[in-house]
């Protein structure tokens, strides 16, 4: 496995205070990693640190050579006074090839929306267009910041399935932040829980295997969602070793 992004002992500061301390993180080619954590735990900050938007105050971040990142931001508010078709939107800021655009819209699951107005898309369609935009970069890694925010559970599940399909087709790694502490994409190889530092790390439990959770999530999710169970003893223990090591 080759590493795409490696962060070592990284601390990040935002708005004058240290949001993340001493984070070690690595994501490899083709891997799916989900980050969960409460509000203000530094999830988005971590992403911004990893893509190089913020410089770490301690530690290092290294990206693989000529790494191509497809980034889907947390939210994109398009003012209703701005008339914009999907086609025009994808052509900002650089003109793109027609076939490339069609391919990206196909992969993202919105093949027939090129001429739709952005303001008339549903939440799920909008996120897919954002995904198509990220795919245009032919990314080695897709980074999604709370991409399913504002979608209901079946909408999230459908979006996660789309991501999985894209991953299988392109083989890109996926790094995403989930706004839900407990529900994550079933296909995640690893789940990282963040709270100013890395609390704990683990693998998700497949929802499909647990009937009681299937009842909770409904059957419409077709196994796209999974549960991440937090082991808080482990969390504190981990915290300790962390403190000792410095």
């Amino acid at each position: 496995m080759s590493a795409l992004i490696v962060a070592q002992n990284m601390s990040l500061r935002q708005g004058g205070k240290t949001v993340l301390a001493n984070v070690d993180f690595q994501i490899n080619r083709g891997e799916i990693v989900t980050i969960v954590g409460p509000n203000g735990s530094g999830k988005s900050t971590l992403l911004r640190g990893l893509i190089g938007a913020i410089r770490p105050i301690t530690g290092t971040v290294e990206q693989a050579k000529s790494l191509k990142i497809g980034y889907v931001p947390q939210s994109l508010h398009v003012d209703s006074t701005l008339p914009l078709t999907v086609r025009r939107f994808l052509n900002i800021p650089k003109r793109i090839d027609k076939d490339a655009m069609r391919g990206a819209l196909d992969r993202a699951g919105v093949p027939d929306k090129a001429d739709a107005q952005l303001s008339q898309l549903s939440g799920g369609q909008f996120q897919r267009v954002m995904l198509a935009r990220a795919l245009l970069a032919r990314p080695d890694i897709l980074i999604l910041d709370e991409a399913t925010q504002g979608l209901d559970q079946s909408g999230s599940a459908a979006f996660y399935r789309q991501i999985e399909e894209v991953r299988q087709e392109l083989g890109c790694a996926v790094l995403m932040v989930s706004h839900d502490l407990h529900v994550v994409m079933a296909a995640s190889d690893r789940v990282l829980c963040l709270n100013g530092h890395v609390c704990c790390e683990g693998t998700p439990d497949i929802v499909a295997s647990a009937p009681e959770y299937r009842a909770l999530f409904g059957t419409g999710t077709q196994g796209a969602l999974a549960l991440y169970r937090h082991d808080h003893d482990h969390n504190h223990h981990h915290d300790h070793t962390h403190d000792h090591s410095h």
Binding site: I51, A53, Y71, P73, L76, V78, D79, T81, L82, P83, L84, T85, R88, F89, I92, P93, K94, Q117
Partner: protein
Amino acid sequence: MLDDFIVRAALAGVGVSLAAAPLGCFVVWRRMAYFGDATAHAALLGVALALALDGPVIVGVLAVALVVGVSVSMLSDRGLGADTILGVLAHGLLAVGLLVISLTSDTRVDIMGFLVGDILSVSKAELGLVWLGAISVTALMIWRWNALLSVTLNPDLARASGINTRAEQLVLTLSLAVVVAVAIKVVGALLISALLIIPAAAARPLSRTPEAMAMIAAVIGVGCALGGLGAAFHWDTQTGPTIIALAALAFVITHLARAALRR
């Protein structure tokens, strides 16, 4: 032909409307209406300055509009761009400008002309400056169009594609200052931001792309400038307010038409 004051007025109106259209779209999309007001009202201070120093009004206005525009955009960069602060600036600057004019100049100065414009008295030299400014702003808008759109959509995404968001903000501030300087003669300090916003807003229901909106706004703006001039001549009304009233009427018509078509 340029010896006819009505021809000069018409050409000045057309020039200013053309430059105001693309910039006005950005003012609408980026919700900079108050920002435009603050810059336009600051123009009165520029007038006062020019009168006191006996210099050309257009230069005084350009200088002050630029200083105020840059300061305000720096303030809003620091998170001080709240509605209230811009409102205080916009109206405070208007009041102070009027105060300074009445304190420093004699009573023969036509304050009303600076407030609502005096398009019928545009000289050949002023007409030249209007078109120079209009062409510069339009060229700048076309050159930076995609980058400006990108920044308007999302600064983070723009930065990710290597766009300098501060530089693009400066492009808008500079263009705004130039438009204010050339438009003060045409519609006056009070109505400059109306000339920016209303044609763009009127074009919105008729447009599917940003480019279409800018072009339709230009057509509406030019139509209102010419129509307003004619109407003002016919009914002997103030030209600036007539142009803006016509634009407001266009806004009502396009929005009603859109609402009717949707049913």
